[in-house]
């Protein structure tokens, strides 16, 4: 009976080899796809057990923190709720969704484990606590933006032009990030208009045209252009507001009173190549390098009437009308704030940043986000010239409602016509910066839709209030 016993043992060995084979299949060969199987909640539970770090405003206000939940897991609460929901976003692990800084700074908020801490963190099984994220957001100014928008759909973005730090990013409609799944009371509440909207910039874009005109050397602020109305632009007549004929005027005057026919002619004479070069330097044609999820950032650029983006310097685009913020040009408020910021900072555009620094649970600085130059848009002398032209706009032109009393304010208004022709629906804009010498704030304000409102009357007062709040804090 010996041979059968040995054979039997052989069979058992084969069976056990099968077991080890299958175990290695799950543990090694298929492990990755199993970990990513949508039915597998282990990774999620691991994440839920991490105490995510907090998110702070620049004055120490807590914008997001973890609260303990059932079974050793953590939930998330946003004490400022709808005020900061757009920049901060939310993290809803159970639903597998996240947005804003909560998404972008996820690795830091979960706590990046490196080197020794990765090994010892696992051995002693201690609670994983993520790093805190400190932003440059300013709660008082943010609150002022909300107050001034007064429920109207629109956006306010304010940057520190010298560092790119985002001080204000507020848009209506908004939502309560404590309840990211709740239905919107107004449609599109989770759509961050500050970074995702596609708005016609109207005359605020003339700042870009003016920069291209002067920096390219083809024009000076004193160059004379005929401001008659109408003029033929791309074969179609273009007229000024009320068909007003300004006659030959210099560029400073043309900006002060936002003369469409002058800037359209300037745009045409500069040509697509020059205009496109300056637009690229200002950040058009690419997503702003903000520390924010890329799918929540929109690219500012001209679009054809069918909604397709024009390739840069496309021969089909109407560069004359683009030069005055029309012609299918669509922008985000963030992009227009970057335009103001570049002029403010001597032509040097800083990359916009929400995060100032990352601090670990023991209070050690893990990372300080250093200001980075995105591009040198123009010569400092050009920046100074354009700033002076923009100062005139506020001093005596269309932007007078933004006047800050003693503080010199440079700005540009915009009033984009929206809706069907003759409907009188407008989208008012204001971009600007202050103080002109050593600028602290660059701002873009827009209100999505008004019945015949102007940039100067609707948007400029909002900008004024927010800038005043920010400047008063600086002292």
């Amino acid at each position: 009976m010996n041979k059968p016993i040995i054979r039997l043992f052989g069979v058992i060995v084969v069976l056990f080899a099968l077991l080890i084979g299958w175990t290695s299949r799950w543990t090694v060969f298929d492990a990755k796809s199993l970990d990513n199987n949508p039915l597998n909640v282990r990774t999620l539970i691991d994440e839920l057990k991490i105490k995510r770090g907090r998110i702070f405003a620049d004055d120490g206000t807590v914008l997001a923190r973890s609260v303990s939940a059932a079974g050793g897991t953590w939930g998330r609460t946003y004490p400022t709720s709808s005020l900061f929901s757009q920049p901060v976003g939310y993290s809803n692990l159970a639903a597998g969704s996240a947005a804003g800084l909560e998404l972008y700074r996820g690795p830091e908020l979960r706590g990046i484990q490196t080197g020794l801490s990765a090994i010892f963190g696992q051995v002693n099984g201690s609670q994983r606590v993520g790093d805190d994220v400190y932003t440059s957001l300013d709660p008082k100014a943010q609150e002022m933006a909300r107050q001034e928008l007064d429920g109207r759909a629109g956006s306010v973005v304010a940057l520190d032009p010298q560092t790119g730090a985002v001080k204000v990013m507020y848009a209506n409609p908004t939502y309560d990030d404590n309840r990211p799944d709740a239905p919107c009371s107004r449609p599109g509440c989770r759509f961050n208009r500050s970074t995702q909207a596609s708005y016609p910039p109207g005359s605020t874009f003339k700042v870009v045209t003016a920069t291209a005109a002067i920096d390219s050397g083809k024009y000076m602020p004193t160059s004379i252009v005929n401001g008659r109305s109408p003029v033929m632009i791309s074969g179609v007549p273009l007229s000024n507001d009320n068909n007003q004929d300004f006659g030959p005027i210099d560029l400073t005057t043309a900006l002060t009173y936002s003369v469409n026919t002058v800037w359209a002619q300037v745009g045409e004479s500069l040509g697509r190549a020059t205009m496109t070069r300056y637009m690229r330097r200002f950040g058009f044609y690419s997503k702003p390098p903000l520390d924010y999820p890329p799918n929540e950032l929109n690219t500012s650029r001209p679009y054809s009437s069918t909604g397709r983006p024009y390739p840069p310097a496309s021969p089909n685009e109407d560069i004359g009308r683009i030069a005055i913020g029309q012609g299918g040009l669509l922008v985000t408020p963030l992009q227009m704030a970057m335009v103001a910021s570049a002029v403010a900072n001597g032509g040097k555009l800083m990359e916009p940043r929400l995060t100032a620094r990352v601090v670990d649970p023991d209070g050690r600085n893990v990372e300080t986000i250093k200001p980075i130059v995105q591009s040198q848009v123009m010569k400092p002398s050009t920046a100074q010239a354009v700033a002076q032209m923009m100062k005139k706009v506020v001093d005596e032109g269309t932007g007078t409602p933004a006047q800050l009393g003693g503080i010199p304010f440079a700005g540009k208004t915009g009033t984009a016509s929206i809706g069907v022709a003759g409907s009188d629906l407008t989208q008012p804009w204001f971009i600007g910066f202050a103080p002109i010498q050593n600028p602290k704030i660059a701002i873009a304000v827009t209100v999505e839709q008004t019945q015949g409102g102007f940039g100067g009357t609707v948007a400029a007062p909002i900008a004024k209030a927010v800038v005043q709040t920010l400047l008063s804090e600086g002292q």
Partner: protein, 433 residues
């Protein structure tokens, strides 16, 4: 070195493991080494030592490796159970004591185990009765659709199949000792295959009937496979005829296929086995949730595991992520925490035990002893295969215990009786003439 001294040294790995294991769980739990862990370890080692001394006195020639291997498995099991649920570990330790007592009783009562042969018909009737117990109204109970246990309210719960497997092996070994010659002689050869006369297919038909009965009555593929495989192994060793095995396997396959299609619970298990990641089955009652999470748990373990106490067993809301981690799923927990290497080490330990069991069968001097040792070892090995195979999706998942490691009184006690019988055979076989 004498056999018993080798056995004593063999206990060293178990002692190290149990101490290190408890210490590990404690460090993980409270970041401090508690003296309770040392007490646990000491008591457990005391029990192992007592077992060793008892064997030294009563069975001086028995195989020196079996008991240390069991001690290793049991100590590993108690650490795993402790890590899952401390209360269960305390109960498990009590079952361990009872198991050792029954181990001693078996050795003393059946010093001459061959007198078991005299009671073979009593044994088979009792065994079959045990198998039917879970269907008795009032005391039988159902778990996940299979009838696996007997519950006497307020007293105890036990799984009669664990004991029935021993009884049936003893019966078959005894029966085949008498009839194995007949089964082979008088056979005709057709196309090179030995076909015994139809009347001698009796035993095959009987064990096939038992397996189908288990499937039909208990709705349990796992136990059925384990019994049938074990009994078929005895038949094969007794007759040396592969034809029995081939016919037997075919008959089982046909029967299992037919019943599998017609018993809803068995069918559900097969469906879950075939499509564990089907979202519909995953969320269905009696669906693939347990099996899918068993595989996810193993994937989480990887090559080296997440470490003792690191596996996630419950959902944040307190619900089970891995149902039955201390019994059916303990192998998945082991793989999750100790990885492929830890799991393979456990399987190799079982394989060493199985090798010693077959070695004992080879050394035995009479056919009853050989057949009994073969059967007990084969049933033991197949039990490991059935549960680990179920957990790793080699075969459909059914609830049998992982011997000496899973939580469960019946399993521990019955497997200690199995060990006692193997050691009895071994002692007689290795006694100098």
């Amino acid at each position: 070195m004498s056999a018993r001294n080798r056995e004593l040294f063999g206990l060293i790995p178990a002692s190290l493991l149990v101490t290190a294991g408890f210490a590990g769980v404690f460090i993980q739990r409270s970041n401090a080494l508690s003296n309770v862990s040392l007490i646990y370890g000491a008591i457990f080692l005391g029990l192992c030592l007592a077992g060793h001394v008892f064997i030294r006195v009563t069975l001086p020639h028995a195989d020196p490796y079996m008991f240390p291997l069991v001690a290793l498995l049991a100590s590993f099991g108690i650490v795993m159970v402790y890590r899952i649920d401390a209360t269960l570990a305390r109960q498990q330790a009590q079952w361990f004591v009872l198991g050792l007592v029954l181990f001693a009783v078996t050795i003393v009562a059946f010093r001459d185990y061959r007198k078991l042969e005299r009671y073979r018909y009593t044994i088979v009737v009792v065994s079959l009765g045990l198998l039917l117990l879970p269907r008795l109204p009032g005391i039988g109970y159902q778990a996940n659709g299979a009838y696996l246990g007997v519950r006497i309210p307020g007293l105890f719960v036990f799984q009669p199949t664990e004991f029935a497997k021993i009884g049936l092996v003893v019966f078959l070994a005894s029966y085949l000792r008498d009839t194995r010659q007949v089964l082979v002689i008088g056979a005709r050869r057709i196309l090179g295959v030995t076909i015994p006369p139809i009347k001698h297919f009796g035993p095959v038909i009987v064990i096939w009937g038992i397996a189908m009965l288990i499937l039909l009555v208990l709705h349990d593929i796992g136990s059925s496979l384990m019994f049938y495989g074990g009994l078929l192994a005895v038949l094969y060793v007794a007759t040396g005829r592969v034809s029995f095995v081939v016919v037997g396997i075919l008959a089982f396959a046909v029967g299992a296929w037919y019943l599998g299609a017609h018993i809803q619970h068995v069918n559900a298990r097969v469906e879950a086995w075939l499509h564990p990641f089907d979202p519909k089955l995953y969320s269905a009652p009696l669906g693939s949730y347990q099996l899918a999470n068993s595989i996810f748990a193993q994937a989480a373990g990887g090559m080296f595991g997440q470490g003792f106490g690191q596996a996630v067993l419950t959902l944040p809301n307190g619900g089970p992520l891995l149902p039955a981690p201390q019994t059916d799923m303990i192998y998945a927990v082991i793989t999750d925490e100790l990885g492929l290497f830890g799991a393979a080490a456990v399987l190799l330990t079982y394989l060493l035990f199985v090798a010693r069991g077959f070695k004992t069968a080879l050394l035995a001097r009479d056919s009853f002893s050989t057949l009994m040792a073969t059967g007990l070892t084969a049933v033991f090995a197949l039990q490991v295969f059935v549960i680990v195979g179920g957990v790793t999706r080699v075969i459909p998942l059914t609830g049998v215990t992982l011997p000496f490691i899973s939580y469960g009184g019946s399993s521990i006690v019955a497997n200690f009786v199995l060990l006692a019988l193997l050691l009895l055979v071994s002692d007689r076989a290795r006694k100098p003439a």
